[in-house]
Amino acid sequence: MAHETDKRLNPSKPSRASGAVHLAQKTPEFDLLALLREHQAEIWRYLRYLGCDPAAADELTQDTFLSVHARPFELRSPGMTRSYLRKVARNLFLKQRRQALQRPRFVDLDEADLCWEQTAADRAGDEHREALRKCMAELGDRPREALQLAFGEGLSRREVAKRLNMRDQGVKTLLRRVKDRLKECIDRRLRS
């Protein structure tokens, strides 16, 4: 039967063979609060991206930082720190899914992580969202209304269709086109 312990194996002798970011003794420069301030929003968004609902993302973000606090690591660079935190979050997410007998949204989590890194990891995705805001301002009234109903009010496609006096399929097509357009616009803005 399992015991909840955090017994370390030779804490004074970390694995030499581990990679660039490895577990180590607590270092004086390890500052949990600074780490939280800097990275909690990205970890929360990353967990949402992997498939957590908001409550589960809260829980697992908390667990990620508690886990890191229990086994601190050397802070080497912002990129490596982000990557390490995502790895811890991902492991906790997988563990939770296993316990709940649920399959992760993405089968290849390495690939999913790469997509996240390339798309949304810049300053916790700030640039991505800034670009999104600007792109949404370029949309016409009807597409914006459809987005507002679907994403702002969380209505189902059927409900959106009823509100816009459209067919389900029409709403599906409209949202697909709007999203494609937004994606293209965001990419263009980020490139420039």
């Binding site: 909840e4 929003a41 906790l92 649920q102 999913a112 702002g152």
Partner: protein, 551 residues
């Protein structure tokens, strides 16, 4: 735009338009850290209880011997998830396996299944060297002071799923030796060691797996040939239809409902029916071995895993939310999915439903699916999730009872329901739906039951022992009273091996869950809970199964 990019865009839109912003968790995390340090040494947590969430009771024991239970119905194996299982037998000594948040002890001479993760640490725990036989890889010998850390894993395809094909470990302390066929390699502190199968078979497991893979390939080829033959005969027109009853089967969707058609039609019913037909006797054989106190035969477990993986190939469609149910097994036991699997299983066994039976099954399924719709729509925010689960599985069981009454004894036997009734786990019942929520815990008295449950709830509901004394006293009183009046039937006596497989009589689990909802209702009405604590209690679906070891 691919699925991942779309997910990022959707979440950004939800954030921009719906205000679903990331919360600031700093205070909560600091509070939790303070709680953890304050609690240390004051509350003896239940063995295996998760650190954070009461709702995760049921998951806490998955790491160790109970992982056997995963073989039957879970998604981890055979569904393409990138976290396959690793089975091993400890032939000498003992070890402790530290994962992200759990730590498990594994001892000779038992066989275990774990789900390794990068960063897991394995520590030898006995004075003598520890020896592990890793299924399909080889033998690992660890010095008494040896500690290993998993750095890399490679997965190999097996059936429709994956197994761990190789593990690279760093030797953090002591020394280790790995043997596979004629190959031997030693590693000292600081070295890396690759655990993988080298030339030549490694014991019977590798032979068994290779044999199963070959058999699987043959069966797939045969299945494909039969489907093609059947399609060709249909395309040939009316003459072909005359012989269709003698033709090999292409099983389709027998019963559909509401918006399920597209989802159901996307599933390979012939494959799933065939897998279920083959799995049921193997499952019974395995459960019998467990019931008699033996160790689960690895080869048999592997076969079951493979077949289970074939049933679970429909997981993707089901998980898109098309078939409702609590947890994946809730969807698998939904009347519509279950009726089609029942039909496909009987088709695979050559015992198809006749027209009258099919009509009856359609009627029963439609009625129960409709009832399930009404049930799901009837709950308010203040209904316990556990109560909903009790009612959901109750409905499943009533459905199966009526559906089985429609079958002949021969057909029932195919579904694993012989003259003496079903075995310890019945695929065509609510059993699978319970399995993921049960949390067996050994108790030796009613007061032991009360104290363990109290400790678990204190931790799970995050009471602060320094400030919440009034609530804690009340909670303790409510639980004590409840434990004292628990019926004898609530305290189960189940053989250890079956308990590890979470194979409890379904009726007992239902009764235990129902009884537990009374406790939750008493706590809600009598203990002054915070909104978060109420929410935790409302959402909790873990069913505490007290395994009584007293006289």
């Amino acid at each position: 735009m691919n699925e991942k990019e779309e997910r990022i865009l959707d979440l950004s839109l939800e954030e921009e338009l719906g205000g679903a912003q990331p919360p600031d968790l700093s205070d909560r995390i600091r509070w939790q850290l303070a709680q953890n340090s304050h609690r240390q040494g004051q509350i003896e947590l239940l063995q295996g209880a998760p650190r954070q969430s009461l709702a995760a009771w049921a998951g806490a024991i998955l790491g160790a011997a109970a992982a056997l239970a995963l073989i039957f119905f879970t998604v981890n194996f055979g569904a393409g998830e990138a976290q396959p299982a690793l089975s091993f037998t400890v032939t000498k000594g003992s070890l402790r396996w530290h994962s992200v948040e759990t730590s498990n002890e594994f001892i000779r001479p038992n066989t275990y299944t774990v789900f390794p993760l990068l960063g897991d640490r394995i520590e030898a725990r006995s004075e003598e060297p520890t020896v592990l036989k890793l299924a399909s890889l080889g033998t690992l010998e660890m010095s008494s002071d040896c500690a290993l850390e998993i750095e890399e894993m490679k997965f190999s395809e097996f059936g429709k799923g994956f197994v761990v094909g190789a593990i690279v470990v760093a030797v953090a302390a002591g020394s280790a030796q790995f043997l596979s066929g004629d190959y031997t390699v030693q590693a000292e502190d600081g070295d890396r060691l690759t655990l993988e199968q080298k030339d030549g078979p490694v014991g019977g497991d590798a032979v068994g797996i290779a044999g199963l893979q070959a058999e699987n390939a043959e069966l797939r080829a045969e299945n494909q040939r039969l489907i093609e033959t059947s399609a060709r005969q249909r395309a040939e027109g009316p003459q072909a239809e005359v012989v269709e009853s003698d033709a090999p089967l292409e099983v389709g969707v027998a019963i559909t409902y509401a918006d399920f058609s597209e989802t159901l039609e996307g599933m390979d019913w012939a494959l799933m029916g065939s897998a279920a037909k083959d799995m049921i006797p193997k499952l019974q054989e395995l459960m019998k071995a467990l019931e008699e106190g033996g160790d689960p035969p690895i080869g048999l477990a592997g076969e079951i895993q493979q077949l289970n993986g074939q049933i679970l190939q429909s997981l993707g469609q089901i998980q898109d939310g098309q078939i409702p149910g609590t947890g994946i097994n809730g969807s698998f036991t939904h009347p519509v999915f279950a009726a089609n699997l029942m039909n496909a299983t009987l088709e695979a066994a050559g015992m198809s439903l006749d027209e009258a039976q099919m009509r009856t099954l359609q009627d029963i399924t439609g009625r129960f699916a409709g009832e399930d719709d009404s049930r799901r729509g009837s709950y308010g925010d203040d209904v316990l999730a556990l109560q909903e689960l009790v009612e959901e599985i109750g409905l499943r069981n009533r459905f199966f009872e009526q559906a089985k009454a429609n079958l002949t004894p021969e057909q029932l036997a195919v579904l694993g329901n012989g003259p003496d009734g079903p075995g310890p786990i019945d695929l065509f019942s609510g059993d699978p739906a319970w399995q993921q929520w049960t949390k067996p815990v050994k108790v030796n008295s009613r007061s032991d039951l009360a104290s363990k449950l109290t400790a678990n709830m204190l931790a799970g509901m995050r009471f602060d022992v320094s400030t919440d004394s009034a609530q804690i006293n009340k909670l303790t009183e409510v639980i004590n009273n409840w434990a004292k009046s628990a019926p004898d039937s609530y305290l189960m006596k189940t053989p250890g091996a079956l308990a590890n497989a979470k194979a409890f009589p379904s009726a007992n689990v239902s009764a235990a869950a129902q009884y537990q909802t009374q406790l939750f209702a008493s706590i809600m009405s009598q203990v002054d809970l915070s909104p978060d604590q109420r929410k935790m209690l409302l959402k909790n679906r873990g069913v505490f199964i007290p395994l009584y070891s007293g006289k």
